[in-house]
């Protein structure tokens, strides 16, 4: 009889091809969306962590203020840094390889008829070491250019491509606001970061030039510190904190008015952001799961009348309620399994595609796959089964009469 039940269920599925298709579609959408989104979200998180690790664990960032809120937009902090503080700190700590002061702003860079809004970074040669930038062509700054704040710049690959196309930028004059500076070097491309932001989209000028010609003040936004090879980054961080307290004359018991971040912290912060992203994606996915579920529910409820009559007919010709119910249950399970499996394949496929497009690792989560599958299957079975159960418990004549 069980084989016969399966055969009846399969017959019913094909007899109601459209309803079956829509049910399966609802499940596919629900399961697929959840799996795709969570896969991409978790891939991004994994990528951020990997990227940060690649940046090197021997890098520290020193920023004014205690947290992001206090720091505010670059240069608005109340606890400003100066170049002198950077140099003092670097001098006092043998554990430090280099420490580069850095200021930033956004401005339009113009060459001939071409122009581009880009990041302007004011710093000195230590930055190239600390942030691991190599020169593709030309040279870095010389001592007089740095000391006198001469109008010279090193540009990123994106700026070159956009403004110069195929012609050679070295020796050309780039205009940034009122500053007209000679391009002396071109950086080797690093490509896009995890968030898709273009790391090559910036222009570096001597920090004194930046202060005088762009910012109009002498604020320093942060220090980029490179810890000596082989030294313990954790220890270096404590040392930097101690020296900074000294330099900034912070008394005993007073709180730091600066923050030293190592890359592990940065990684945590960034994966916090991608975590929020994953959360958002999951919320969207949950909604699609719900929509899929409501779709299934709708289809099932719309067909309740027809199915109730079908149940009435089966009861009238001698079927027992549990035989009819078993058939409906098997039917719902087959549809749910089928939809769930297609949903998993589609979800993983879209996840793979999305991961490739965002160039993040493809990292499906078996738990989420199971969860999405279980939820949709439950919706399919519940809404396929319970209306049937009600019908099967009626007097056969009431089921038959149902309009």
């Amino acid at each position: 009889m069980f084989l016969e039940t399966i055969r009846l269920a399969v017959q019913a599925i094909f007899r109601n091809a459209l309803r079956s298709f829509l049910t399966v579609l609802g499940i596919v959408i629900g399961v697929g969306a959840v799996i795709a989104m969570v896969t991409v979200g978790q891939g991004s998180t994994a990528q951020v962590t990997a990227d940060v690790e690649k940046l090197g664990t021997n890098m520290l960032m020193v920023l004014p203020g205690q947290d992001a809120m206090e720091r505010g937009p670059a240069g608005t902090s109340m606890h400003l840094f100066t170049i002198r503080m950077n140099d003092l700190m670097e001098e006092q700590l043998s554990v430090i390889d280099v420490s580069a002061p850095m200021s930033m702003g956004r401005a339009r860079a113009v060459f001939g008829n071409e122009n581009r809004r880009t990041d302007i970074v004011g710093t000195d040669n230590r930055y190239f070491t600390a942030a691991q930038w190599d020169i593709a062509r030309g040279r870095i700054f010389d001592v007089t250019e740095l000391q006198a704040g001469k109008p010279v710049c090193v540009i990123g690959e994106t700026v070159r491509k956009d403004l110069f196309g195929t012609s050679d930028p070295i020796g050309e004059e780039l205009r940034i606001q009122s500053l007209s500076c000679e391009i002396i070097g071109l950086l080797k491309s690093k490509g896009a970061s995890t968030f898709g932001s273009d790391q090559d989209d910036f222009v570096i000028i001597p920090i004194r030039t930046f202060h005088r010609r762009i910012a109009g003040n002498t604020d320093v936004a942060m220090f980029i510190v490179s810890v000596r090879d082989g030294a313990d980054t954790e220890r270096a961080k404590t040392d930097v904190e101690a020296v900074m307290r000294d330099i900034r004359r912070i008394g005993r018991g007073e709180e730091d008015d600066f923050t030293v971040m190592d890359m592990k912290q940065l990684a945590t912060m960034l994966s916090g952001i991608t975590g929020v992203l994953t959360g958002l994606l999951s919320a969207v996915a949950a909604v699609s799961l719900l929509v899929g579920g409501i779709g299934i529910m709708n289809i099932m409820l719309v067909s309740v009348t027809e199915r109730t009559r079908e149940i009435g007919i089966r009861l009238a010709v001698g079927a027992q309620a549990r035989q009819v119910l078993l058939q409906f249950l098997v039917e719902a399970i087959i549809l749910s399994l089928f939809g769930g499996l297609i949903g998993i394949v589609v979800g993983l496929g879209v996840g793979l595609l999305g991961a490739n497009m965002l160039s993040v690792p493809f990292s499906p989560d078996p738990q989420i796959v199971l969860l999405a599958f279980a939820f949709s299957a439950a919706v399919g079975v519940v809404f396929g089964y319970f209306p049937a159960r009600r019908a099967a418990r009626m007097n056969p004549i009431d089921a038959l009469r149902r309009e």
Binding site: I313, G318, I397
Partner: protein, 239 residues
């Protein structure tokens, strides 16, 4: 009717059967203390005005509905004592239904519709196939076995329904206005099929109808009014 007492027990015995719908003001006595005996092999027609309880009586006899009060003995068994599943077994093994609206499964071939009761009888595939084909042949529809109900005329659909009722090899066929949707010529054809079943195979048939023409195919006629049996006798004398 006193002579019935010393005869063997009837196949169908209704004793003070009532079927009440609704409560209080809205109460409808669809059947009001009905007493009725039907013997094996009878061909009975039930007539009466609309709303007089004909369908209700047939549904109670067919165990599709349960009476509110009274005793219903089928083949000596008190139906009220049966569980829904046992009533399903009774329908499966003894009863076949023909409805005015055919009640065939949509998008399902005539053959598969006829096979339906046989599936629940636990008949194997080949046996079932043969029995269903045979039943369709009896109603003259062998050549339409693989058509869906939507591809069949009303008369053909009703013949599929008859074949389905026959396929289970029942004792009793219960037909509620089996010709209600058909024209006179088709109706006569259906009635001839039923009459032949009664004659040749000894099937007990209980049929509700509105048309005197159709009632004439039956030997016994029951006339109902307001949930009660008003007249009961040979068709020739009652009609």
């Amino acid at each position: 009717m006193a002579d019935r007492a010393d005869r063997p027990r009837a196949l169908i015995q209704l004793r003070d059967i009532s079927r009440v719908y609704g409560v209080g003001e809205a109460e409808v006595r669809a059947l009001d203390q009905v007493n009725l005996d039907i013997d094996k092999g009878e061909f009975v027609a039930i007539m009466g005005p609309s709303g007089s309880g004909k369908s209700t009586a047939l549904n109670v006899i067919g165990c599709l509905d349960v009476p509110t009060a009274g005793h219903y003995m089928f083949n000596g068994v008190e139906v009220a004592h049966l569980t829904p599943d046992q009533r399903a077994l009774l329908r499966r093994n003894y009863l076949g239904f023909i409805f005015q609206g055919y009640n065939l499964l949509a998008r399902t071939s005539a053959l598969q519709n006829v096979e339906l009761p046989l599936i629940y009888k636990g008949m194997g595939r080949t046996e079932r196939h043969a029995a269903a084909t045979n039943a369709l042949a009896k109603v003259g529809l062998a050549h339409r076995a693989h058509h869906d109900p939507s591809e069949l005329s009303g008369g053909q659909q009703q013949r599929v329904a008859i074949a389905r009722a026959l396929a289970g090899n029942p004792e009793v066929i219960l037909a509620d206005e089996p010709t209600g949707n058909l024209d006179t010529k088709l109706s006569a054809e259906i009635m001839e099929v039923l009459q032949a079943l009664n004659h040749d195979e000894g099937l007990t048939i209980v049929m509700v109808t509105h048309e005197t023409q159709m009632a004439k195919f039956a030997r016994r006629l029951i006339w109902m009014v307001d949930g009660r049996i008003e007249r009961d006798g040979l068709t020739a004398t009652v009609a």
